[in-house]
Subunit: 193 residues, 4 copies
DNA sequence: CATGAATGAGAGTTCATTCAT
DNA sequence: GATGAATGAACTCTCATTCAT
């Protein structure tokens, strides 16, 4: 156990991720994965026993990747508004890149498994809200931002991001809507010079 | 002539609605509907030929119901903030009543049929945004509200509502989060006496 | 029994005949008949209990019709070759008018019920062979024809007719093939003047 | 690719052939094949996706078999009348061996697919007619046969064979009828010594 | 007589999962 | 480890047949 071919396991996971991104969670069958990977049916079962198991692993990797990617981008940045821009851009990419996004798959998965540990969606929200809150507080201290309730403002931003993500998944987010909303959100807290 | 028994058709639709509310769209099979209705396999096909057909009918009825329910509630109301409260309460009920909500089913459905006519989600967003914008404008005129950009404020509210809806579907919306957010949103525009 | 509406029974039979002519025997369902007739499911069962029952009745009528039609055409004809031409023309119409022919349906039916009484196909062959034999004999006596074995010649003609019929049913009889064959068959027995 | 077990594929085909021979084309279901083969439902679909696909393959093999069987029998034969006897005997076997004949199944199949490429019935007729024509010509040259129009004589023989085949399928060909007809056909062209 | 809603048996098809090689 | 043939459960859909009205 645990041994086998680590590289093959990783390969399967990578392919599975793209399948989930394209088709969501429920619609994906083990057969789909087998075919997308170009391996044998039995071969897949050697590594993963169900789409559920596969998906859990996919999102575990996803979390890791996101964490490290943010960390990298945040090195050497000092201004709060700059960090916020980095975060917003990263979410923008995530939200608008429908082809490559696991969002819908995760919505489907957690709709069926709401109590799941390591709830990546809940986690993403809380982490993001906390980050934004800190940034706003930092910005207020530095005189960049003005805001009476950084926590609530941060949460409002996060809700709006979630809203735009699901709307984009269902094809109901107009072009430019993301940018307009972001400009508006920032305009509410930025101190004009 | 689409006649058959109108009451039975309505009964099936009602049952189907609850099945979709409980299980989403993709996971529901005709067999599920048959069993939930307590009728025969062939009996269901007499009225509806697929889950898709059923679902489209369910949401058509849903739209009708919502429209008429809002209209009823809006009679005799004159203050903008009162109307806004009615709207918010109606959305609150919709969003938090997970057992009874078609939200997840609609997300799944439109994720697969993004270009669909009568896109109820897009429609709901646009209608709501327009309504809130008008209300804010009215409120500003009456001195109840203050707001520099009613359109953007309204859209932000709608995005936040969408965000809370999907978060609730996936079990990631904490209790009270809805109320806290609403209080915050209102606090931003309400003129304190 | 036997009473009901005779005209409706006849109407159903007429419609059923055209359905069998178009689709053969096996492929036809009671539902097809119901729809073609524009009556109710129960209504059809009031008169006929199965496609088999219907088909048997259809071919019973068919025999009657053919018998009487030949008789009519044969009145006042005296020359053997003229009568033969009438018979050949009547078979030509039957064989080539694919849209309206019950041939394929009958082949299917008797392939499943080879021992059936009132075997219309066997009957048609024997009757036709006997007729042609008599005609050839008559023609020989009158000096119109020459033929050493009227019986075998007649049977050969009948086999060829059957062969062309099934070939036409399956789309493998070329245009003009019927006429060429008939000219050849007649050329073998006609005495040139 | 299309590999799986070649022997099993062949086994299925062999069983399917006998089922088609017994029941025709339309009446045969995938379930029938499954049961006759003693394999699982899914197992059959691994190899063939429909009765149509199966049938097409069955007749493709049939053509191959017939071609090679004729070739084998024709080695070392020199007299035209001998070759003709071989052909007639091969058709006799085909026509009279009802249990084992695909004739009715092919009639049903092509009645539904008249325009089909590789129309085996049309082909069989044309090939047979051409062969008989050549043989008659050869025989005439050698003084074995006498015939004014080998082409038309050959076609007449083929039509008669077709006629007897369908009549046998439907149970309307009397015993000995085949032999009587053949004797007659040959008597018309054979030069008595 | 006539209707047509309702039933349930049965065919088609797909896939998760196992297992001999 | 890896393969892919094989199985059987589950789902979709159609129709012959019945029966209350």
């Amino acid at each position: 156990m645990g041994a086998k071919s680590e590289s093959k396991k990783a390969y399967i996971l990578e392919v599975a991720r793209s399948v989930f991104a394209e088709r969501g969670f429920k619609a994906v069958t083990m057969k789909d994965i087998v075919e997308a990977c170009g391996i044998s049916r039995g071969g897949l079962y050697l590594y993963y026993g169900s789409t559920r198991e596969l998906f859990l692993e996919v999102i575990r990797k996803e979390v890791e990747r996101n964490d490290s990617s943010m960390e990298k981008d945040l090195k050497d940045i000092v201004k709060a508004s700059d960090i916020m821009m980095v975060y917003i851009k990263s979410r923008k990419k995530e939200i608008l890149d429908k082809e490559n996004s696991l969002a819908m798959a995760m919505y489907e998965f957690y709709a069926e498994n709401p109590g799941s540990k390591k709830h990546i969606l809940r986690n993403r929200f809380e982490t993001g809200a906390k980050l934004l809150e800190k940034l706003i507080e930092m910005g207020v201290k530095e005189g960049e931002f003005r805001c009476e309730s950084p926590e609530l403002e941060a949460r409002n931003m996060m809700y709006a991001l979630e809203g735009m993500e699901i709307m984009n998944c269902t094809g109901s987010l107009p072009k430019n809507a993301f940018d307009r909303e972001m400009v508006y959100l920032l305009s509410r807290i930025i101190v004009e010079v």
